[in-house]
Symmetry: D2
Subunit: 353 residues, 4 copies
């Protein structure tokens, strides 16, 4: 990170960028009111910061130790950006503002009729964004893999239904990108791209998705510490894309015997992350608990903990879903959740700064 003096000229700035280029690093120039900052992306261990510090126009040049400085609230503060929480805009929906945002829809898109029926239901229940899985990550190659697995044509058709359902019911749409070959196709149809828990560490996929310059819903891996999670989110920011919504979806359960939930929803991670980064954080109570009968309580708890929103799997007939049937709620149950969450959020007007 190099901070230039207020009076630094364009040529001085360009010279510094040129100099850093000799060491194989990418430089991003942010011009603030009082000073200009040159952020370096890449391995800084061999950069002679002491040499850069004496170049004309340079006020300060130093290595930043944190692995996630581009999304760091503290670093943002140092840049005169005041560490403001970032609002991620998805269509006309603002994630990270005063009001909570609700993403809902089926785990997997089964057919057009099912999708439209659910879309109508979740819209009425108060959801803002429509979800629907087409490329499903599954633990067994012998399980249903989503319509995306049948063929390219079927995948594109399912994506077009999602687009159409979103347009019809006036909700931006989200779906998961599981592999690099799907990036272009999914980005054509979806308003916000999801990177799932199993792909959190997949830096090539992350980088490829980031380059589409669309908002990204980025889920924590179930075995990842928070520092790791943010360090990998930095791969997105390193592509110049800071429209990142982080999602806590549960970590591996611990201990012998039954735990009664599929994963452990780490709600304290939400305010902890909000203090570390300016990005909005939402929670996924469906995958975390794996239990329809715990969705209400854990949704309320997530909002009370400070979450900027929720993503909840919804189906008019949960038992019929080919995937995750035990954790689906109905649109009516979704409405109850949304109503309670608004009340809690209004009760506790968090300010994450």
């Amino acid at each position: 990170m190099i901070i230039m003096r207020a009076e630094a000229t364009d040529k001085e700035i360009a010279d510094v960028v040129k100099e850093t280029g000799k060491y194989g690093l990418k430089a991003e120039v942010s011009r603030g009111e009082r000073r200009t900052v040159i952020e370096l992306v890449g391995d800084q261990s061999k950069i002679p910061f002491s040499r850069l510090a004496v170049l004309p126009g340079v006020k300060e040049a130093a290595m930043v130790e944190t692995p996630y400085r581009l999304i760091s609230r503290e670093y943002s503060r140092r840049l005169d950006e005041a560490g403001e929480s970032r609002i991620v805009q998805v269509g006309n929906i603002r994630i990270g503002g005063d009001e909570p945002v609700f993403i809902a829809g089926p785990c997997a898109v089964e057919n057009k009729r099912q999708l439209f029926k659910i879309a109508e239901g979740v819209k009425k229940a108060g959801a803002h964004i429509l979800r629907g899985g087409i490329f499903k990550p599954r633990n067994s190659v012998h399980s249903f893999q989503g319509l995306g697995a049948i063929g390219r044509e079927e995948a594109e058709e399912a994506l077009s239904w999602l687009r159409e359902a979103g347009d019809r019911y006036e909700m931006p749409v989200i779906t998961e990108v599981r592999g690099e070959a799907q990036i272009d196709m999914v980005a054509t149809y979806a308003d916000i791209l999801q990177i799932g828990t199993r792909n959190m560490y997949d830096q090539d996929l992350i980088t490829g998705v980031a380059r589409k310059k669309k908002p990204i819903l980025y889920k924590r891996h179930f075995g990842a510490g928070i520092e790791e999670f943010l360090s990998f989110a930095e791969y997105i920011a390193a592509e110049g894309n800071k429209d990142i919504v982080l999602c806590e979806r549960g970590i591996l359960p611990l201990g012998k015997g039954r735990n009664y939930t599929r994963y452990t929803l780490d709600l304290a991670a939400i305010p902890a992350i909000q203090k570390e980064t300016f990005l909005p954080v939402i929670a996924d109570p469906s995958h975390a608990t794996g239990r329809r009968d715990l969705i209400f309580n854990m949704s309320c708890a997530a909002i009370a903990a400070g979450a900027s929103g929720l993503i909840i799997e919804t189906h008019y007939n949960p038992a019929q879903s080919p995937v995750d049937s035990q954790q689906m709620v109905t649109p009516d149950e979704l409405k109850e959740v949304i109503d309670a969450c608004y009340k809690i959020r209004h009760l506790i007007a968090y300010n994450h700064k």
Copy 2:
């Protein structure tokens, strides 16, 4: 478990109890309105239930597979007890009812003046029960171990301060029993006995404490699954003491790198446990997060998840505390927490049945 017919005579019941005694099991007789149940405590694997089933007056005799049938909501339902949530009465405070209960006070009792000053503060803030550690479990023999470690006399003096502070400020008092030799002494002074996270698996200690027939605050071990936690709580119930308040206080964090919280507060465990057992469950956000700046959010989240109360470490001058200074709140901060929690609880009137 043996269910007797409504018309079973006292002699028939006594004969069945006698018969089970031959196999080395303890039998507890519960007389309900419509039927009498004989609960067996101990290894049932060699009991010939088919033989017991044909004794006069017996309606049903079968092994119950769950390791925690004495505290099981489902089993309670089968006994015509309707699976009602249990209210644990501590002095005039009811834990497990409609209103949340707040336990507060210093991590460690340092001296009389400190304790009384904090007691006054937490009472004003709205706390119901006063906590104060005298026998402190510590990871290092070279750390401060509480006043209880100095000597028997000092321990007793500190316990008497706690008693006096509770009486003065009209709050029942709680403190931890860490070893068997402390049971009698602590039970003389405290209204509710705490078994700490490190001792959850210590069945001899648990059994000894249970026998005092006082209410017990029983904390989940940081490496224990829920089934294990309830199985060990059953050791308390097996002594005929069901005045158990369970406490979720965080489990081991997971993943590489920093996690930004000391433990992972497993809030979904709260409603999950409430469905399994009729016992009240509270949360300890202080030890779980280890961070003063997360206490407010996580307290609200715990109540929203359905917790029957909270235990929060409080000190008028957190920096001065010899133990856990980073996670203490002041009485003023405690008041904010309590006020917000009441509002959330009233908003969501949970019924755990």
Copy 3:
């Protein structure tokens, strides 16, 4: 899984395959001496096995419940393949046979001179396969990402050095494929393709790599249970590629405080996996321990536990390595490890059947 009678005709077999195709499943026909088996890949939940069972020539038709039947030792036994351990042939090296196999080389290829010097060293020490990382998965976008990150040309040049070093010192070569875009390029140069721990769950990458029909070194994710690991290895087998070498490389450490090793090397997983599947399993003591001073002990332990080989990071000057310098051994130390491992292996002539 459908088992045909010994006397089933080709037409009968073809008819069954055709019938299964109607349900969208891929069928692989294995002709054994005594019977022919038709393996189905995909979601079998909607297949009417009772209908298939009565088709001409069919002896048995039933769903196999395990998520990894294609690599299952037990299933292989049922197919009259006797559950024999599979030998994975990489060039002239046999992995999974009576002798242990040693893979060694630098964590990251730095330049041609470094690579050749290390290749010479590990060959002399007795290594069989040369490793060298070109596309490095890293936790921070700001760390050195391997020569592959500089550009396509640099990546290809580094790969050609690896190929050349392997040819010069007569060792097959292995390197990691981190993203789908690298598959073709890496497969052109390497004899065996590595899928790293962070990509274990990345089913699109796995499938793409499997299709190159080259041997694969497949590492367990540090948060994965064994059943999960094998279920994802099944994605490779589902592409008709069973030349899979599994690798135990350590799982997440547990508990508070320091653990003194980077990960927990789960050596019991090795014989446990060998009983479940016929695939060879090797160990990676370098990444598991992160400590040069533990490599000798843990290499011996891994071979004693039954590992078919080891992959060990080696550098003539560990301190100079840009990555993982603390866990590198020198070629001299490697020789000591290899010598001791041979002795242990010859002492305990395991037969994994």
Copy 4:
């Protein structure tokens, strides 16, 4: 820690001890050849080391930061004790020397005949110390709790059988102390006292057992990091008892799905601990794997990793054991294990210094 000058007089030493007593710490004086060291046990945070440093005869006075300095190899080196590995003598058996030590016997003592028959078998197989559980820690109050649970008389009788069997077959005997009330009784009969995994954190029990001044087998808790394990072992040393044998018995498994072993045997912990402390470390492959068919492999692996011995559950008829029947080996299988372990140990003559 205070280091006295070589020429310090007895009075000077006594004065320093007296001075430290003012701060409530226990002082242990170790006289070496070249200097005398005063070790302090307890909370040193308030000790004015700078004041102690200028007392007559004092060479150096400083706080030692590690929570386990009394058992630390490095600290021992600093005391001119050369960091030598400690041999723990149990009867005529030396644990921690050049030869591995094998502890074997039934999980639970069932009756005298069973115990003697097994004792004879394990002696013939080459075992050195006889184990037999009388106070069994169990996850369910409804499971068999060992003969110790029946009553005090039955416990004492079972202990006397163990003593008698040890004398008859010339093996020292070991059994577990699960609660404080059992300490005196068990110490009367056993040569080495076991503290089980569930009691690792139970500092009152540990301290009480340590005071018997008998050797202790101290097992790591299944959720404990190594630093924690050693920090709690320090509670034993703080009582002046350094005859501690540490035992790695497996930590909690991780990940979704089946793991195929009960716990994860952390073999790298063995050499890691041997570098941190001078105490001997053994492994328990029985509880770690929970599988009879993995005992041979994991025993060999543990010895190859550097373990000073093994504790293995043995029964002439594993299926008949009321506890842990799936992980028992027969005396014949035990002999195979012991023979292979000797060969491996002789092959690799470790020197843990």
